[in-house]
């Protein structure tokens, strides 16, 4: 499948010289970058002060989650769109998957039966703790996806795309649609108040809206990562 570039004349010396030059160039680049990193004036505190000054308005205690879901919610929304587009790309390019053969080893099956339930509980914990400590939708989604990949390799993953294609696709898009829906909904003006902009949560509800978005995002992220791992759109088995 992968083909090495063949040197037409077999000029080994030229190859070594080229490699040496490339190595020197890479070294020079590293030296330049290193100098740039260390010579740059450290900004005092960066944006940490601004984040901590405004974190009260988000109803969260974890500054990273506050940045991700509130201050820079737009970025995170578009990130979920990127993941969805990646699945579309993989599905439209990939060769259909060969039928999944259940793993012949009992060890893998046992591992899945042990690890999958723990992963689900742990993902829920990570999702909830994301409001105050390290954690959140991406971490939780990654843990769930890990369990899903393991189950997929063991041939124990129910194939949602084949059994429930519509539901599966709705769930794949759930992260960005929930983000979009809640972002638009908060734009509706409450009586006696000015209209808000996209994704500007009301302070009182902020934490719950963010939790709702994160739950939706976690499901979508887990399914998206699993779909990306599979590398192609699952198709109905043809015998």
């Amino acid at each position: 499948m992968q083909t090495e570039r063949k040197d037409p004349g077999g000029k080994a010396g030229g190859q070594v010289f080229l490699g040496l030059m490339l190595g020197l160039a890479a070294l020079a680049l590293v030296a330049l970058l290193g100098a740039a990193v260390f010579m740059s004036e450290p900004e005092i505190g960066g944006l940490a002060g601004d984040v901590m000054a405004n974190i009260e308005t988000t109803g969260l205690a974890n500054p990273v989650t506050a940045v991700l879901l509130d201050f820079r919610g737009y970025d995170t929304f578009l990130e979920l769109v990127v993941m969805f587009v990646a699945v579309l790309g993989v599905w439209s390019l990939g060769r259909p998957l060969p039928p999944i053969v259940p793993a012949p080893t009992p060890v893998l099956g046992l591992a899945v039966r042990l690890i999958a339930p723990i992963s689900v509980v742990f993902a829920g914990y990570l999702l909830w703790i994301g409001a105050t400590e390290a954690g959140g939708a991406f971490q939780a989604g990654a843990v769930l996806a890990g369990a899903g990949v393991l189950a997929f390799c063991a041939g124990m993953m129910p194939d949602f795309e084949i059994r429930q294609p519509l539901l599966h696709r709705v769930l794949l898009a759930l992260g960005m649609t929930a983000f979009l829906a809640i972002g638009v909904m908060v734009m509706a003006a409450e009586p006696g108040q000015a209209a808000r902009t996209f994704l500007d949560y009301p302070d009182a509800l902020g934490k719950w809206l963010i939790l709702a978005i994160e739950t939706a995002a976690m499901i979508a992220i887990a399914l998206t990562l699993l779909a990306l791992f599979q590398g192609a759109r699952p198709q109905r088995r043809t015998f």
């Binding site: 970058l33 960066g46 940490a48 984040v51 991406f138 990306l228």
Partner: protein, 88 residues
């Protein structure tokens, strides 16, 4: 320390990207470069005086997810390209 490792990883990835002949290696090299960038970013977030800056952390977690998605897409592209070459 993290910044040094990050710059070194970037260099290693850069070298790999320029030297390697196969698609898989190029994709891996790009990923190594990306990890180097994340390392540098995380290092800039560190503040010995107090709490670290959350904005680079959020940037990096976004970057990791996008990198994973892009890598998966690149791998499928590489496989499709290899398939076409086989067909020729």
């Amino acid at each position: 320390m993290f910044a040094v490792a990050g710059v070194a990883l970037f260099g290693i990835g850069c070298m790999g990207l320029l030297r390697s002949g196969t698609d898989l290696r190029r994709i891996l090299a790009l990923n190594v470069m990306g990890v180097g960038v994340f390392n540098v970013l995380i290092a800039t977030a560190y503040d010995p005086a107090g709490a670290s800056d959350p904005v680079p952390h959020a940037l990096v977690i976004t970057g990791i997810v996008v990198a994973v998605s892009a890598t998966a897409f690149a791998l499928v592209l590489a496989r499709a390209a290899g398939r076409d070459e086989d067909a020729d």
